[in-house]
């Protein structure tokens, strides 16, 4: 288990290009144990590609990504899976496995290790935490989008790795489950792990992230505490739409698209 503040993930001037077009350029940041880092930015800013670069699913044009100080390409696939879990936006399944079987798949990197004996407890608690225990006998392919998201999240939790990489985990969820997932992310990070999460909803990022990285056309415009990064000025500029940011006592930041003109009409 990593020590609080220990550096888990490190990106050094990462660049990614697809078909000669630059998608990411000169991305550098570190992620330490104990924190939630949110990646935000408009469509096409490169959030998902950045996550793919961290998981090793796209080839880097320049720079390097390392996990626990070792370049991700040098890790054995199983050892890598013990250290980082990934939840993608698309969570399809080719065959009708039950929800319980899907969550159990999260334990597969640990087969044959000493942690295998805890499998049942971990699977059960991952399902309880995500409120998906009622679904356990259902067939995954028959679930709604939001339910699939919860089950996929439970599978990622069951993998019990110190780094979670999530690509819009709450996209299809209602408010209750969105808050549940984000709360779980924060608790997960507090226990000494780290979470990197791509988010669309700016207010959710502001509420739950320790740090926010604001992406703009393949580059990091700013990275830091939500109050410092998510200012009305920089958000309005990056999203090319007027955005108001208020500090609400007890609620942190309230972020709203400016609708003043519409109100007046």
């Amino acid at each position: 288990m990593p020590m609080p503040g220990q550096q888990l993930l490190s990106l050094t001037s990462v660049g990614v290009g697809i078909d000669g077009r630059s998608i990411l350029d000169d991305i550098s940041f570190d992620v330490s144990a104990g924190e939630v880092l949110a990646l935000v930015g408009p469509n096409g800013a490169g959030k998902s590609t950045l996550l793919n670069a961290i998981t090793g699913d796209v080839e880097l044009r320049s720079g390097s990504v390392s996990l626990f100080g070792v370049p991700i390409g040098a890790w054995d696939p199983i050892e890598l899976a013990m250290r980082r879990a990934v939840m993608l936006q698309q969570n399809d399944m080719s065959f009708p496995f039950t929800v319980e079987q899907v969550v159990q798949m999260g334990r597969s990197p640990w087969i044959g290790s000493s942690a295998e004996s805890d499998d049942e407890m971990i699977v059960a608690s991952a399902m309880a935490m995500t409120e998906s225990e009622g679904l356990s006998e259902r067939v995954y392919t028959s679930l709604s989008g939001g339910e699939r998201g919860r089950v996929a999240f439970a599978r990622v939790l069951a993998q019990a790795s110190p780094l979670l990489l999530l690509d819009e985990p709450t996209a299809a969820m209602d408010i209750k489950h969105q808050e549940m997932v984000m709360r779980l992310c924060r608790d997960y990070a507090r226990s000494g792990c780290a979470v990197v999460v791509v988010l669309h909803a700016l207010d959710v990022a502001a509420a739950y992230a320790d740090r926010v990285a604001l992406l703009e056309s393949g580059r990091i415009r700013s990275i830091g505490r939500p109050v410092d990064v998510m200012t009305a000025e920089s958000l309005s500029e990056v999203y090319q739409y007027p955005i108001d940011v208020f500090e609400h006592p007890g609620h942190g930041l309230v972020i709203l698209p400016s609708r003043k003109e519409g109100d007046q009409e």
Partner: protein, 373 residues
Amino acid sequence: MNERKESSAHDVAPMDDRLTEITAASRSAGMTRISLVFLLLLVALLVMTLVSASLGQLIIPFDQVLGSVLGKVGIDWFPQPQQAYGEEALWNVRFPRIVMSLIVGASLAVAGAVMQGVFGNPLAEPGTVGVSSGAAVGASLSILMGWTFLGAFTTPLLAFVFGLFTTLCVYALARRNGRTEVVTLILTGVAVNAVAGAAIAFITFKAPTSARDQIVFWQMGSLNGSRWQQVMMVAPMCVLGVIAVMFISRQLDLLSLGEKSARHLGVNVERLRFFAMLMVALLVSSAVAFAGIISFVGLVVPHLLRLIIGPGHRALLPACALGGALLLSVADFAARTLVQFADLPIGMLTSLLGGPFFFWLLRRSRSKSGGWA
């Protein structure tokens, strides 16, 4: 990490106990069901073998069949076959043919299940995507040329090489961005079958009259005239293939999460894929080498068994071996007894029943995904 486990376990402790109980109960119910299916398949297989050995132009009563088999290992509880040539009919004609049908059926069904797992598509099958035809090109080439550079192994080896090549071609052609769409898969099958069909037609055209008959009948698929020598050649291939794919059953499960997610769970997808393709080619060529092209076994058997015991490959693959063996021994029994004094090509029978089934599956997968996805 421990902190998290402890605190979470603490928070949900009563829930945990209850949940573990429920899941344990449902899991043991699932296990019972799976054991029952295996038991039924085994019993049905034994009964079918006995019936098939007993009936035909020469009828040998069950007890005499048993007597003959057990007599070989020194148990004399049952009488020996009484008719003239009874013993010869059993051991020289029926048993090699029955064993061949078991091997071919098991090979095709397991190959189908593995292909479906690798393609992530329940419509993939050695016959429909053209792997069987590809292997058939190799085998008929060896018949035409009369090649014997590896002795009797020449035909199965050529079937394997061509089958492997076709498998890899189909895989490369039918996949896009890590997944296989139904349309692409079916159309690839049409194209591959067309090319392989043309190659076989050319070989048949070039062949002398004697070899021509052999190729034509063999192409329709038949277990008629199976000999022990042939059985001994393909049995190791089938056994090796079935055992080998058991080792990748867990990884095939993970692959149904999608290629990327499987990789994130520690699966070396490229290695898994190549190994699986190698085993598919091995199994298909063991089936095709002497029995010819028998389609749809690899489609029907895995599909039905998945409905009964679920999609987990650890149970599905061995069940497919039994189910495929059962289906083909029934089909072969029908092929040689349905019309008196005639031995129907078994490939014709399986296609007659498998074709409509395939169409039904296609329609269903279309309506489920709301289009040709």
